[in-house]
C-alpha cells in the first residue's frame, strides 16, 4: 500500500515514516485529529516505543488499546495502540495497528518498555487469545477465576449469553513470607465497590501490594456488539458508571457523530457541556466527602454531600433524574433547556459557590485532615508519565494534560478556564486539584448560561457508513475517557471499546502504596478516585477464589449457614 500524503501531515508521523520507511504498510488520516499507521506485527513494539519516547517534553501516553476480531471482515485480528500526542493547538490521536493471522496470534509485548501497557495486553490475551511475548506479568485480569482456558469472550464466534463450565484457580504473584497479609477487599468498608488489594505488611508499614479486580465485569462491550442498536448503546454507555455516566454517553455519541459526519447543532453542544460540568462538580464533591470520611472527619463528609445535594436536585429538575440524565442521542440532545430553567441553574450555582467556598476554607484550615493527607501516596512525575496516569491524579503529579484543552470537544473551545497543576504528587495535591476544578466548573457554567445560543437541539441523519471506525473522547472527572467504535452492519456496532481513566490510574496504585502505613492505604486508594465500574464495565459473576487465608471453603459455608439460621 502507498502511504497517503497530505499537506497537514503530522510532524511526528513524518518522523515515524522516515525512521521506519518500508516497515510501515500504510498511513491513513481518519479525521482531522485521528491518524492510523499500519505496520507489520513484528515492528509494532518498535514503532510504539519510538513514538512514546519521541520527545520527552511532550505529554504522550497510551489513550487506549483495541484488540478486535476482524475475521468476518478481512480474515485477521487487529491490535491497535492509540497514542494521545498532546501539543498545544495540534494534539492528535495516532493509532498504530498490526493485523495478525488466525494461526499466528503473537507479538512482542510493549509492557516491557511502557508500564502503562500492562493491563491492556493482559486483557487482550484473555479476551481474544492474542499473546504478547515476554510480558512481565501475564496473569488473568478481567475474567473470573473459574473461567476455562480457551474460551475467548470477545471473539465473534462466542455468543454473548454463553456461560462456560467452572474451573478454579488464581495465584497472587507477589509473595513475601516474612510479611503479614492484610486483604483489603473484595468487601471492605473503605471501598465503594469490590476490589482486592492484597497488602503485605510488616507491623503497620506496607511493603508490597498485589491487585486483583474486575469483580463487577458486566460484559457491556459484548452486549453492545450483539443485541443493541446504535441509539440503544447510548443508554447502556450511560450506565457504565454511576458517577460519570454522562461522559461515557457523550464520548460514544461523539465517536458515532465523527464516523457518520454529523454536525451537532451549537445549542446541543452547549447543553452537553453544561451537563458535563454539572457532573464534574457532583463527582468532585462526592470525592471530597469520601476522602474526609476515610480519615474519620465525618463533618467533612456531611458538609460536602449536603452541598452536593443541590447539584443533584438541579440535575433532577433539568433532566428528569439525579444521575442517569438520558439526554444524549446521536446527533444532539433530547430535551431543551427552557428559559425558566436557566434562572434555576444560575440561582443554584450561586448558592453552591457560596456554600462551597465556606466549606473549602473550613477543610483547608483543619490541621488534622491536612496532616493525614500531606506527603502520603507520592507518585513522582516520571512514574506518572510512564504509567500514563490521567486526570487529577496526573495533574497532581505535574502532568499538564486535560482533554478539554488538548482535544477540544463540545463547546469547550468557546469558554475560558484554567487547569490547576501541582507538582508534589501526594494526596493533598490531588485534593487541591479537585477543589480548584470545582471552582473552574462553576465559572464555565456561568459563561455557558450567559451565552447559550438558540437553534435546533438535534441534527437529523440518514445513514451511518458500515465498518468505519473512530474515537470519541471526553474529560471525565477522573481523567481522559476514550471510546473506540467500529460500526457494523444492520444498525449494530461491530466493536465497542471503552477505556475509562481509572483503568490507567489503577495500574499505578501498588507503586503508590509501598512505604506507607495501613492507616493510609484506604486514603491512597481513594485518592485516584477509583471508579471500578467504569474500569470494568462488567457483569456480576459470583467469584469464589478458592482457599482463603483464614477460612477454608467448608468453614466459610458452615458459618454462613449458621448465620442464616440465627437470623431466622
Amino acid at each position: 500500500m502507498v502511504s497517503l500524503e497530505t499537506e497537514h501531515e503530522n510532524d511526528y508521523i513524518k518522523r515515524i515514516k522516515e525512521q521506519f520507511k518500508d516497515k510501515i504498510i500504510g498511513i491513513r488520516k481518519l479525521y482531522d485529529d485521528q491518524w492510523l499507521i499500519i505496520t507489520e506485527k513484528d515492528y509494532l513494539r518498535d514503532v510504539v516505543r519510538y513514538l512514546a519516547d519521541i520527545n520527552s517534553s511532550t505529554e504522550i501516553h497510551i489513550a487506549t488499546m483495541v484488540g478486535s476480531d476482524e475475521r468476518p471482515i478481512r480474515g485477521k485480528m487487529s491490535v491497535t495502540f492509540w497514542m494521545n500526542v498532546i501539543e498545544s493547538g495540534s494534539s492528535s490521536f495516532v493509532g498504530i495497528r498490526a493485523y495478525l493471522d488466525e494461526d499466528d496470534l503473537e507479538y512482542e509485548s510493549i509492557a516491557q518498555d511502557l508500564p502503562g501497557a500492562d493491563w491492556y495486553e493482559r486483557e487482550i490475551h484473555e479476551m481474544l487469545g492474542i499473546t504478547p511475548r515476554n510480558h512481565p506479568n501475564l496473569k488473568r485480569l478481567i475474567l473470573p477465576d473459574d473461567w476455562p482456558e480457551g474460551a475467548y469472550p470477545l471473539r465473534k464466534d462466542f455468543n454473548y449469553s454463553e456461560s462456560p463450565a467452572k474451573f478454579p484457580g488464581y495465584s497472587f504473584t507477589y509473595k513475601d513470607s516474612s510479611c503479614a497479609i492484610v486483604p483489603l477487599g473484595p468487601y471492605h468498608i473503605s471501598l465503594d465497590e469490590p476490589a482486592h488489594f492484597r497488602l503485605y505488611v510488616k507491623g503497620e508499614e506496607i511493603i508490597g501490594c498485589d491487585y486483583k479486580g474486575f469483580y463487577s465485569h458486566r460484559g457491556i462491550e459484548k452486549l453492545a456488539e450483539s443485541r443493541l442498536t446504535y441509539e440503544q448503546v447510548n443508554f447502556i454507555a450511560e450506565r457504565i458508571c454511576g458517577i460519570c455516566g454522562y461522559t461515557h454517553s457523550t464520548a460514544y455519541c461523539q465517536a458515532m457523530e465523527r464516523i457518520a459526519g454529523i454536525e451537532v447543532p451549537e445549542r446541543a453542544e452547549y447543553i452537553r457541556t453544561l451537563l458535563l460540568e454539572i457532573e464534574r462538580i457532583h463527582s468532585h464533591l462526592l470525592w471530597l466527602g469520601i476522602a474526609s470520611h476515610l480519615v474519620g472527619l465525618e463533618s467533612g463528609f456531611m458538609d460536602a454531600w449536603r452541598i452536593r445535594e443541590r447539584i443533584m436536585w438541579l440535575a433532577e429538575r433539568l433532566t428528569g433524574n439525579r444521575k442517569t440524565y438520558g439526554m444524549n442521542l446521536i446527533g444532539g440532545v433530547r430535551r431543551d433547556l427552557l428559559d425558566y430553567r436557566k434562572d434555576l441553574v444560575m440561582k443554584t450555582i450561586e448558592k453552591v459557590k457560596e456554600e462551597y467556598t465556606q466549606f473549602v476554607e473550613k477543610l483547608k484550615s483543619n490541621r488534622s485532615f491536612i496532616r493525614r493527607c500531606e506527603d502520603i501516596g507520592v507518585l513522582p512525575y516520571d512514574k506518572a508519565r510512564a504509567y500514563g496516569v490521567l486526570g487529577p491524579t496526573g495533574r497532581g503529579s505535574g502532568r499538564k494534560i486535560d482533554t478539554r484543552k488538548d482535544h477540544p470537544y463540545a463547546s469547550y473551545k468557546d469558554v475560558d478556564f484554567n487547569i490547576p497543576l501541582y507538582k508534589d504528587g501526594d494526596v493533598l495535591s490531588r485534593a487541591l486539584v479537585r477543589i480548584e476544578e470545582v471552582l473552574e466548573s462553576i465559572w464555565i457554567i456561568e459563561q455557558l448560561i450567559d451565552s447559550m445560543p438558540g437553534g435546533d437541539i438535534i441534527a437529523e441523519y440518514t445513514e451511518i457508513p458500515q465498518f468505519s471506525e473512530g474515537l470519541g473522547y471526553t474529560e471525565a472527572p477522573r481523567g481522559e475517557n476514550v471510546h473506540y467504535v467500529m460500526t457494523g452492519e444492520k444498525n449494530v456496532v461491530y466493536r465497542f471499546r471503552v477505556r475509562a481513566p481509572t483503568y490507567a490510574n489503577l495500574q499505578a496504585v501498588p507503586k503508590m502504596l509501598s512505604g506507607y502505613t495501613i492507616a493510609d492505604a484506604p486514603l491512597i486508594i481513594a485518592s485516584i478516585d477509583p471508579c471500578y465500574s467504569c474500569t470494568e464495565r462488567v457483569t456480576i459473576i459470583d467469584v469464589k477464589s478458592g482457599k482463603r487465608r483464614t477460612l477454608s471453603e467448608d468453614e466459610f459455608n458452615m458459618l454462613s449457614i449458621k448465620a442464616s439460621r440465627r437470623r431466622s
Binding site: 503497620e204 472527619l297 502505613t517 495501613i518 483464614t550 458459618l559
Partner: protein
C-alpha cells in the same frame, strides 16, 4: 447507712444505663451539628438490647478464653465504674492506683485474646489498643503523681477535697482531662476500632451477645473515666460553698458530677466532629507532649507552687 445504699443503687444505674444514654446524646449532638436529624437519644439502648438478645457468634478457631473475654471485660469495667467516686464516696475504695490498674487491665483483657485470633484486622486493632492505652495512661499517671506528691494521699475524694487554684493543680487537671479524652477513644483517638481502615479492629471477630457485652464495657469504661475526671471539678466547687461533711454536699456533688459528665460528652462530640482520625505515630507523639506537661506540673508541685 441509707446514704450508702442509695448511692450504690444510683451508681449502678448510672454505670449501666446512663452511660448508654450518654452515647445517644453524643451522637445526637454530632448529628445536629451536621445539620441532620440523626437517631433518637435512646437508640443506643435499643441497639444494645437487640445485640444482647442475639446469640453470640464465636470467632473462628477459638478457645474458651475468647468466649470468656467479653464477660471478663464487662465485669472489669463495672468494677472500674464502682471504684470511681460517686458524690463524696465510692463503693470500692476510690483509689487512684486502682483506677489506673483497672483501666490497664480492661485494655489488656479486651485486646490480648484478639492478638491470637487469625484475623489480621483484629490483630492490628488489638496492637493499636494496647499502644493507645499504654501511652495514654502515661500522662494520667504523671499528673496524678503530682497530686499524690502534694497531698500525700491516694484517695481520689481526699485529693479532690484539697485541690487549690495553684498552677500545678490546674496543669494537672488539664492533663487528666486530656488523658481521659484519649483513653475514652473519642475521635482523633478512635484508632483501635477505625471502621474505614480495619473494619471493627479489636472487636471484628465478635458478634451477637458477645459484641454487645464488649461494646457495653467500652461505654462503661468511658463513662467511669469521665466521672473520675469530673470528681476533680465538682468536689472542690461544692466543698467551697457547702463544706464536706453533710449529706447534702454529698448528693449535690453527685448532681454536679453528672452535670459535668453530660457537658464533657457534649463538648467531646463537638471536638470530635472537627477532627480527623490520627495515625498511631501522631498519637504517640501527642501523648508524649502531655507527659512533658505533666512532668512540669510535678516539678511545680515539688517546689510548692
Amino acid at each position: 447507712m441509707i446514704t450508702e445504699v442509695i448511692t450504690i443503687i444510683i451508681s449502678i444505674l448510672l454505670i449501666t444505663i446512663f452511660s448508654v444514654i450518654l452515647e445517644g446524646i453524643r451522637s445526637k449532638v454530632k448529628a445536629l451539628l451536621q445539620m441532620r436529624e440523626g437517631g433518637e437519644i435512646t437508640h443506643e439502648i435499643y441497639d444494645l438490647f437487640s445485640l444482647l438478645s442475639m446469640k453470640g457468634v464465636l470467632p473462628t478457631r477459638t478457645s474458651l478464653i475468647h468466649v470468656l473475654t467479653p464477660y471478663m471485660t464487662f465485669s472489669l469495667s463495672v468494677a472500674l465504674g464502682l471504684s470511681v467516686p460517686f458524690g463524696l464516696m465510692s463503693v470500692m475504695g476510690g483509689d487512684i492506683l486502682v483506677v489506673i490498674l483497672v483501666v490497664l487491665a480492661v485494655a489488656f483483657i479486651a485486646s490480648v485474646p484478639s492478638m491470637v485470633i487469625s484475623n489480621i484486622y483484629a490483630n492490628i486493632g488489638a496492637s493499636r489498643e494496647v499502644i493507645l492505652v499504654s501511652t495514654g495512661l502515661m500522662p494520667l499517671v504523671v499528673a496524678c503523681s503530682s497530686f499524690v506528691i502534694k497531698f500525700g494521699t491516694l484517695s481520689i475524694v481526699d485529693i479532690a477535697k484539697s485541690i487549690t487554684l495553684s498552677l500545678s493543680d490546674i496543669m494537672a487537671i488539664c492533663v487528666i482531662g486530656y488523658a481521659v479524652y484519649v483513653l475514652s477513644e473519642f475521635t482523633p483517638f478512635d484508632i483501635s476500632r477505625s471502621e474505614t481502615e480495619i473494619i471493627n479492629g479489636v472487636l471484628s471477630e465478635y458478634g451477637g451477645r458477645l459484641l454487645g457485652l464488649m461494646e457495653w464495657s467500652l461505654y462503661i469504661r468511658r463513662f467511669s473515666l469521665i466521672m473520675f475526671f469530673s470528681t476533680f471539678l465538682a468536689a472542690p466547687l461544692i466543698g467551697k460553698i457547702f463544706g464536706f461533711s453533710s449529706i447534702l454536699s454529698h448528693f449535690l456533688t453527685l448532681l454536679l458530677q453528672i452535670v459535668f459528665v453530660v457537658s464533657y460528652y457534649m463538648i467531646a462530640s463537638m471536638v470530635e466532629e472537627r477532627h480527623a482520625r490520627a495515625r498511631v505515630d501522631h498519637v504517640i507523639r501527642l501523648n508524649g507532649v502531655f507527659v512533658l506537661v505533666g512532668l512540669i506540673s510535678v516539678v511545680l508541685s515539688l517546689i510548692g507552687m
